[in-house]
Subunit: 380 residues, 2 copies
């Protein structure tokens, strides 16, 4: 109970008692107890308070008790900013998504946040609206806030900035990051698997004319989904006329526009696969407006399996990409990059699977009945 008062100002030669407590410093944060208040109350040094609060085992149990009591009494909350300043680590993670209003992302955000918080991290969220400029300013702001790492769940960012960060050794996690960039951890989504299942499901029902509503093609992930579709079709020997391939922008509006384009064709495909669920919902809506029935007239398949999908009318058949899985991988990858002794510190790739979920927006092509049904009908 001696030196603590020296930490303050030049001031009087005789720092008698608790002058510190309500501070001489004008900028002192109002109404907030600091470590010094606790130290004074407990009659120990601030170092001991720090140690007690951080659970360092070498503190005398009796002193620890006194410290905790004082903490209680003054309502002390350690100031994370100060901690971050001295430790050089903020225990904040950045999470950048393309469009927070696309329901897939809130689901992702929630999972990510739960995991992060459980592991002692806070999350700074940013939504880019597909704007590279926004993405850049977002990353810049997050860096200023000293986040320990950033997970970018979208693409369209200036490579320069990424390169600079990578050079600096800043932990970065991308989904579907394409190119040669080293030292970036990447979540590789296996689009092929789920999309092949979807195409095969449609083909098995008898569909041969299958259209595709893609996402915005400057997004790597959108391109990857389209390519997976093309590949699956080719594997089955199915043709894709150019006009059956339309861009939908991953929004409901985009889905509507794309479906209208398809519907204007002389021969509307009997089934349409969409690059995400929002486009699929848009497609559903467009078909409703043009009085086409789903799935009787045309089958629709989505991608993502957002919560909403099962509540659509009709419930949407879709390719599931688990945002839980994505979140787990993202947090894991981030920590691998941040914490020097992380068991996966050297791992650079995380695999994410996708799979088909069959609901009621897919059925036999219009005007056809499969053999089994015909046989059943004949029996009557």
């Amino acid at each position: 109970m001696s030196g603590a008062e020296k930490n303050r100002k030049k001031s009087t030669i005789h720092p008698t008692v608790n002058v510190r407590s309500k501070s001489s410093h004008p900028r002192r944060r109002a109404g907030h107890a600091s470590i010094r208040d606790v130290a004074a109350k407990a009659g120990v040094s601030i170092a001991t308070v720090s140690r007690a609060v951080n659970g360092i085992p070498t503190v005398d149990p009796e002193l620890a008790r006194r410290v905790w009591k004082a903490v209680e009494e003054v309502g002390y909350l350690p100031n994370t900013q100060a901690r971050a300043l001295v430790s050089g680590r903020s225990r904040m993670l950045g999470l950048i998504v393309s469009e927070i209003t696309n329901p897939f992302f809130p689901e992702l955000v929630q999972e990510f946040e739960n995991l992060a918080v459980a592991q002692g991290y806070e999350v700074l969220i940013g939504s880019t609206s597909y704007d590279p400029l926004r993405t850049e300013s977002l990353i810049r702001r997050m860096l200023q806030r000293n986040v320990d790492g950033v997970a970018v769940m979208t693409f369209g960012i200036e490579e320069d900035l990424v390169q600079k960060l990578v050079d600096r050794g800043f932990p970065l996690v991308f989904v579907d990051a394409g190119p040669q960039l080293e030292n970036i951890r990447v979540l590789k989504v296996n689009y092929g698997e789920g999309i092949r299942q979807a195409v095969q499901h449609l083909a098995a029902l008898g569909h041969r004319e299958i259209g595709f509503i893609s996402g915005p093609l400057r997004l790597r992930s959108a391109v990857a989904r389209r390519d997976a579709f093309l590949k699956a079709m080719r594997e089955l020997g199915l043709k894709i006329p150019k006009q059956h391939l339309v861009e939908g922008g991953h929004t409901m509006e985009g889905g509507i526009a794309a479906m209208e384009q398809l519907a204007a064709l002389s021969a509307l495909p009997t089934a349409v696969l969409c690059s995400n669920d929002m486009s699929a919902i848009g497609a559903l809506h467009a078909l409703y407006r043009t009085t086409h029935k789903v799935p009787d007239d045309v089958s629709i398949v989505g991608f993502d399996d957002i919560h909403l999908a099962q509540f659509m009318l009709p419930p949407l058949t879709t390719v599931q990409m688990s945002c839980k899985e994505l979140a787990v991988a993202a947090v894991d990858a981030l920590r691998a990059g941040i914490e020097p002794n992380h068991p996966k510190a050297r791992q650079m790739e995380w695999q994410i699977d996708t799979r088909l979920v069959v609901r009621q927006s897919t059925a036999f092509p219009r005007g056809t009945l499969p053999a089994v049904v015909k046989r059943a009908a004949a029996k009557r």
Copy 2:
């Protein structure tokens, strides 16, 4: 170009040149340029750098130029944590919502974030999942992160904590905060207006049996909406049998369950008002499963007007509560509480209006045709 080196360690008596630049301190943040690096590069003191960077007009233009050049060269980003530490303000706002996966909230979050960022604030987002414990830990975490204020867009929080914060003078903004708490800024939503419009719209169409699917009744806002409905019905002299009032929990699942309950009644109401759009979507789904047609068999009205509402099948008639308006008010109210010289520093209430948006989920009650239609039919 002299004293800056003194800031470091005891060390050598002769701090010849740029020993500081890559630091002697072991905890120095790796790869990140600090204000001292800029000062060294520009040949000025750190104070000048600080002033230049913060746009203080009294700096010599020539020096300012040199500073900015150095900033460019070393890739300097001011450390927000340090700034926050010294200024006692973090320029971070907390935003607490009840359920990030309810599409209304991402829309709100996005608006809020855009506004906040434009005004130089960062946003820390938290989702409570209606859990008071989570809410409390959320607020606690936000306080540790030194947020300048918190907007709570949900209710169910322990009053103790709120009281403590209020006593401390901590800026807090609530939506629909009910009780006597002083020094809390509140966003008063005028549910009555929009809901009265909805009930009158239904009544005008000829509905007399109008059901209501409420939200979770521990939420003030849910109670307020139900009460507004009851009041509007009373004003029109319409009766509400108890079984026409069911709780839906503000989720799709809840909406489905509630609608099923209603559908199981001997006399299903001809119209149902829902406490939010998600319940309404659930109701739509439940009616689809029970092969009731909307709006032919029963009219449905939602609340919130989320983006999705217009894309439902059929497009949802709903009471609009503009999240843009809410966000604007929330940020405004927060800043009023934070900034001592804010023009509205003394204002404690913000009004938010609601209004009906008519789409296609409402129509005449089943089995009825209004006079005009009958006359038109008779003419043929």
